[in-house]
Amino acid sequence: MRQLLLAWMVVASISAQTGPFGAFTAANDIGAPPLKGSAQFDPATRQYRVTGTGADIWAKADQFHYLWREMSGNFSVIATTEFLTDGNPHRKASIMLRKTLDADAAFLHLAIHGDGMPSVQFRSTKADTTNTLDFPIEGPGTFTLKLVREGATVTVFVAKGRASLRELGHTTNQLGSPVLVGLGVASHSTEALNTVLFSNVSVNQLPAPAATR
């Protein structure tokens, strides 16, 4: 039994792409929401079906479901999001960078709300309040999100439907390395579940920056 466990751990660590969570290593409810979330990876379609619940990702503590892996240095993440359930207009699906699994951990995410509002939100230091940047709403739909981290700079891109990715801009963060990188889903209600289908997900390590500018 121990041998089997060890073998499974080795396989999981060396081939995350084919593990139970695809490109990610684990899935957790953050902030102990009263309902249970879940994450399923379909190797055939390479899609992730993530169900999250919880009051929100906001203020000084978060409740949501998080599918994550650990990374260091520079990287980019792309995901196409589709809300499969109705619910609060401010339910969220996001690409999230997070320092730890604590409910009040420092984080930064590129989120799409249920009503179609893209946002960049961050908690700069543990237990601090959340900052938000909210972009004009084009209405609900399928959105492709892209987040690129290079050094302390995080650049975000969004596309609605089949449109090309458009750069919204960039901000700075001090999350450092290692950092958790993944997909987050919150229902903005402790009594509701929110299911989001993530497709065309890619997580790519980028080379360290060349000489400083």
Binding site: V120, F122, S124, T129, N131, T132, L133, D134, F135, P136, E167, L168, G169, H170, T171, T172
Partner: protein, 218 residues
């Protein structure tokens, strides 16, 4: 002054508070340097052209400490402010000019601004609470030029609108920054270099206070 009598003074005060024009700082009440930069800044209002010529020095408006030239008026509640600006001369690519709402004149005060950098990079920057680090969101750069800026403040929400080279300002993004009671609203210039001074021309400047009832639902 005494020859004109109190009624004339009252009329002047009313016109300052309700619309443009007025004293030698146009629609604003006061100008000064925040954060004691080594080189003094200045603000001149040209009543003939309705333009403000603002010269500012200062290391930066960033992190936990700001240095810049500010011309402001006090108001309470929601407002819309506009300004069209262009930098004169050359300087640090991150020299800054724009519209700021600020809780106080302290160097580390809570604030939010809509800013154009010398490189032409627009941004929305804010310090959530006095003494904290600045937050920023910077937009893609189309290059230097003349920019029309608009800041809309509705409750804690602070909106950035930008238009470049004659385009009408377009809503880009908003953030939330809580302030209390009266706030200072005005124009700012920072050289991003304590040894330099930069001059910016502002035109089409307006500040319109709005009743809180007009707040946009969200």
């Amino acid at each position: 002054m005494s020859r004109l009598g109190p009624r004339f003074v009252l009329v002047c005060m009313l016109s300052v508070s309700v619309s443009a024009q007025g004293g030698n700082l146009g629609i604003f009440a006061t100008s000064g340097d925040v954060g004691s930069p080594a080189n003094a800044g200045s603000t001149q209002f040209d009543a003939a052209t309705n333009q403000y010529r603002i010269t500012g020095s200062g290391a930066n408006i960033w992190a936990k400490q700001d240095q810049f030239q500010f011309v402001w008026r006090e108001l309470t509640g929601d407002f819309i402010a506009t300004a069209t600006l262009r930098f004169l001369g050359e300087g640090n690519e991150h020299r800054k000019a724009g519209i700021m709402v600020r809780q106080s004149l302290a160097t580390d005060a809570t604030y939010a601004d809509v800013v154009i950098h010398g490189s032409g990079m627009p941004g929305l920057q804010w310090r959530s609470r006095q003494g904290e680090d600045t937050n920023t969101f910077d937009l893609p750069i189309d290059g230097p030029g003349t920019f029309a800026l608009k800041m809309v403040r509705t409750g804690v929400k602070t909106y950035l609108y930008v238009g470049r080279e004659g385009a009408a300002p377009k809503e880009i993004v908003h953030t939330e920054v809580a302030m209390t009671g009266p706030v200072l609203v005005g124009l700012f210039v920072c050289a991003h270099d304590a040894a330099r001074s930069e001059t910016v021309i502002f035109s089409d400047v307006s500040v319109e206070a709005r009743p809180a009832a007009m707040a946009r639902p969200q």
